[in-house]
Every structure is written in structure tokens, then in C-alpha cells.
């Protein structure tokens, strides 16, 4: 791991963390507004989280070499 790799990994984590925070925050807001729809909101939240995670992991693995 060289320094540019590590900086890149840090940037990816910052971006992914920001994205996950937005998803989680919006989901919390939505659940607070409509608690009866919590199940559906959670499923959607996990799917979007997983898509984001795939993107972040892909970038980390491509950046590793």
C-alpha cells in the first residue's frame, strides 16, 4: 500500500460514510413520520445501503493494486 492508495481509500470511506449517513438519516426521518411503514422503509434502506457498499468495495478493491 502506497500513500496515494491510502489517501484514496480514505476518500472512498469518507464518501461512503456520507452516503450511508444520508440514507440512514432519511430513513429515520421517514420512520418517525410513518412508523407503520417501518418495515418497507428498512428494506429499501438496506438495498440502497448495499448498492452503495458494492460501489465503495469495488473502488477499494480496484484501488488496492
Amino acid at each position: 500500500m502506497t500513500i496515494p492508495n491510502l489517501v484514496g481509500a480514505g476518500l472512498i470511506v469518507i464518501g461512503a460514510g456520507y452516503g450511508l449517513g444520508k440514507i440512514g438519516g432519511s430513513a429515520m426521518d421517514a420512520i418517525a413520520r410513518q412508523p407503520e411503514a417501518a418495515g418497507k422503509i428498512q428494506t429499501a434502506m438496506i438495498i440502497i445501503g448495499a448498492l452503495l457498499e458494492g460501489l465503495a468495495f469495488g473502488a477499494l478493491i480496484l484501488g488496492k493494486n
Binding site: 448495499a50 468495495f57 478493491i61
Partner: protein, 404 residues
């Protein structure tokens, strides 16, 4: 043993079974809680490949003035931990449960090596073949193991290494039963036994309550059907895809869980396995795609024609990035989980000097326990996500549009 006999005796006298069940649950919970401790057995005592020997001799040379003089292989060195973790994450031709670094011994069993090289060459791998680089002669050909791969060589075992230490000799096509294949076969057998038991209970009557493993499997089957297949694929078509979705869900879930046991398996953390799983999803999506699906890829309706030309290549790329993200997600999650667990187990060895042995083992145990519990959640979540996204993609391919 004492507890078991006690429970058995208890069972005779108490037909109500309530107390027994509770104690059995407790015992199972305790066993699961102690699992990370047992999995330590497989850890840094083992000395792995040449790279590991090289790394460790290097460090022992550097730190020769430390008081730890006897250690040819120092398990608390950073190189050792890295090499050991890498070794765990890789596939192997020898199933090693634990080992002894001082004696250079590995306790486990050899697996069959199958090579396609002018016909099939089959022989059992041994500890010497995999860890000590012994040349094996089979059917007039000589084979040598080097850094996880088998090369064709002569009786002297010369691999003709180039300047980067890469062998230049020929490599036969290897279809061996490796550690990962053993893991896959084990999972398949377990799933087969579990689901045939479940199916038998439905033969009696469709409303029969399943017994044993089936009682765990039934809610999961219904969960896959009602939470993933039905809402995403649609009421009319979901039945056709249930076998695939269930297979993929239970295979990934079981393999993830097996990866947390002291068996030392890392099947879903192998990129070849996830590539194969994602390839199946890719084929399912594209072979069941209807005219609307292809029209949305190559000639997107409802946008001006210059946009159609711009969108077509992006959509074609999207066809491949969807399964690609599936495979990367599963692979990276499991690999990351295993690496972190390995790193936390290594805390026991690395911190031994500062925290004393009981302290270091205690810290390592607590951290590993915490992470293993988290990994159980991840094991389920990854199986869920893979199945959920597969059904979403299939659903988008078979969806009936009416936008006219």
C-alpha cells in the same frame, strides 16, 4: 460429558421437557459463545508457505537482540500475521486444522489433486507436498507445489524462476478437490439433508408442522418467498424463480456461517465462487428478459432519439455492472470480515509483551467474540442482499410495462 448425561437422565424423569430444552438452549448458546476461542486453535501456531518462512527469518534477523531468542517463527510479528491471514483467505490443496510452527507440522488431511495433463492425473496431496515442496511423481510426470499452484517439473523440482520469482515452467489444468470445494460439498450435503427432512413432513400433510432443522428452514423459505420473490418479481411469475433464489440464499447463508466456525473455511470470501454465483444471476436475468427489457436497454422509450443513442451503451454497461457489484459486495464483505477476525485473534500474540498472556488473550477473546456476533448478522445480511438484488434484477427483466 457430565452435563450431557445429566440432561439425559433428566429427560427420563421429566416428560414435560421444558427445563431440558432451556438448559439445552443455554448449552448451545454457551458453545456458540465459546466458538471464537476454539477457532484460535487454528491460528498463528501454523507456519505457512515459503513467503512466511522468508518473512519470519527476516524479522528474527532484525530483532535478534530481543530476549525472544528461540523463536525462528515469531507469531507476534506483523509479517507473520499478514502472511497467516493471506494464507487463510486463499484456497488450499491441504485441509489444515492447526499446526506447530516449531516442528513445522500441519495437522489435517490431504485432499485429492486432479490434473488434466495428457489425461487425468489423480493423487492425494500430502503435508510434505504442500508445505515442504516435495516433488510428486505420477504417471511419468513430476509435479511440484509452489505458492498455492501446482507446476509440471522434472525429478530435480526445478521451476526455472524468473527475476520476479515467478515459475516459467508449464502449469497443468488443475481441477482438484481443494478446501473450498470441500466446503461447497459439505454445505450441499447439509442443505440436502435439511431440505429432504423438511420435504418429508409435507408429504404427510401440507399443513404438517416440521420437526428439527425443518422448523428453522420453513420460516426462512417463507421469508424469501414473501419478502423477496413476491414483491419484486410479481405474483404471476415468482414461482419459476423460487428454486434459484432459495438455493442461492441458503447456500450463501450456510457458507457464511461455516466460515465463522473453527473449520477455517472461507468459501464465499473466494472471488471465483462469487463470480460463479453472480454469473448465474446474470444468466437468469438476461435469459428471462422480455422484449420490454431489451427495448429499455437498446432503444429507451420516451426520450428523444439523440438521447437513445447516448443511453444504449450506458444501459449495456449496466447489464454487467449489476452482477459485478453483486460479486464484489459478497467477496469483499466476507474477506474483510475474515481479515478483521484474524487480526483480532492476532492481538493475543502481538500484545503478549505489554498485557501479559492472560490479559492479551482476554482482550483478543472479547474483541473476537464481539466481531463474530457482528459477523453472524453480516452472514445473514449478505445472503439477504444477494437474493434480494437478484430478485430485483429478475423482476426488472420480466416486468410488464404499460406506458402508452
Amino acid at each position: 460429558m457430565y452435563f450431557c448425561t445429566k440432561f439425559l437422565k433428566h429427560k427420563k424423569f421429566n416428560p414435560g421437557m421444558v427445563t431440558i430444552k432451556k438448559s439445552l438452549h443455554l448449552l448451545t448458546a454457551a458453545l456458540f459463545a465459546l466458538m471464537p476461542l476454539v477457532s484460535n486453535a487454528e491460528t498463528p501456531v501454523v507456519s505457512a508457505h515459503d513467503s512466511l518462512h522468508a518473512a519470519t527469518t527476516e524479522t528474527s534477523h532484525e530483532t535478534h537482540d530481543s530476549h525472544d531468542t528461540h523463536a525462528e517463527v515469531d507469531p507476534s510479528s506483523r509479517e507473520f500475521v499478514q502472511a497467516y491471514t493471506e494464507h487463510h483467505l486463499m484456497d488450499d490443496h491441504y485441509y489444515s486444522f492447526f499446526g506447530n510452527a516449531e516442528e513445522h507440522r500441519h495437522y489435517g488431511f490431504g485432499l485429492p489433486v486432479i490434473l488434466v495433463d495428457n489425461g487425468l492425473k489423480v493423487f492425494m496431496s500430502t503435508e510434505d507436498f504442500v508445505y515442504k515442496g516435495t516433488v510428486v511423481e505420477n504417471g511419468g510426470q513430476h509435479y511440484k507445489y509452489y505458492h498455492g499452484k501446482i507446476y509440471k517439473t522434472d525429478a530435480s523440482g526445478d521451476l526455472k524462476l524468473d527475476s520476479h520469482d515467478h515459475p516459467t515452467v508449464e502449469k497443468p489444468f488443475d481441477i482438484s478437490i481443494t478446501k473450498n470445494v470441500v466446503g461447497l460439498l459439505l454445505a450441499t450435503v447439509l442443505l440436502f439433508l435439511g431440505f429432504t427432512a423438511l420435504a418429508k413432513t409435507y408429504k404427510v400433510s401440507p399443513n404438517n408442522l416440521p420437526k428439527g432443522v425443518g422448523r428453522v428452514l420453513e420460516p426462512l423459505v417463507i421469508y424469501v418467498r414473501d419478502e423477496m420473490a413476491r414483491p419484486n418479481i410479481g405474483e404471476k411469475k415468482y414461482k419459476k424463480y423460487m428454486p434459484y433464489l432459495l438455493s442461492v440464499f441458503f447456500l450463501i447463508f450456510l457458507l457464511n456461517l461455516l466460515g465463522l466456525t473453527p473449520l477455517g473455511l472461507n468459501v464465499t470470501g473466494n472471488i471465483s465462487v462469487t463470480v460463479c454465483l453472480a454469473l448465474f444471476t446474470f444468466l437468469y436475468v438476461n435469459l428471462s428478459g422480455n422484449a420490454d427489457y431489451w427495448k429499455h436497454i437498446f432503444w429507451m422509450p420516451g426520450v428523444p432519439w439523440p438521447m437513445k443513442i447516448v443511453l444504449a451503451p450506458i444501459e449495456v454497461l449496466g447489464m454487467f455492472t449489476k452482477p459485478f457489484s453483486l460479486l464484489i459486495r459478497l467477496f469483499a464483505n466476507i474477506t474483510a470480515g475474515h481479515s478483521v477476525v484474524m487480526g483480532l485473534i492476532a492481538v493475543a500474540f502481538v500484545m503478549k509483551q505489554t498485557l501479559t498472556t492472560p490479559g492479551a488473550v482476554g482482550v483478543s477473546f472479547l474483541l473476537t467474540l464481539f466481531l463474530t456476533v457482528l459477523e453472524i448478522l453480516v452472514a445473514f445480511l449478505q445472503a439477504f442482499i444477494f437474493t434480494m438484488l437478484s430478485s430485483l434484477f429478475i423482476g426488472s427483466a420480466v416486468e410488464e410495462h404499460d406506458h402508452h
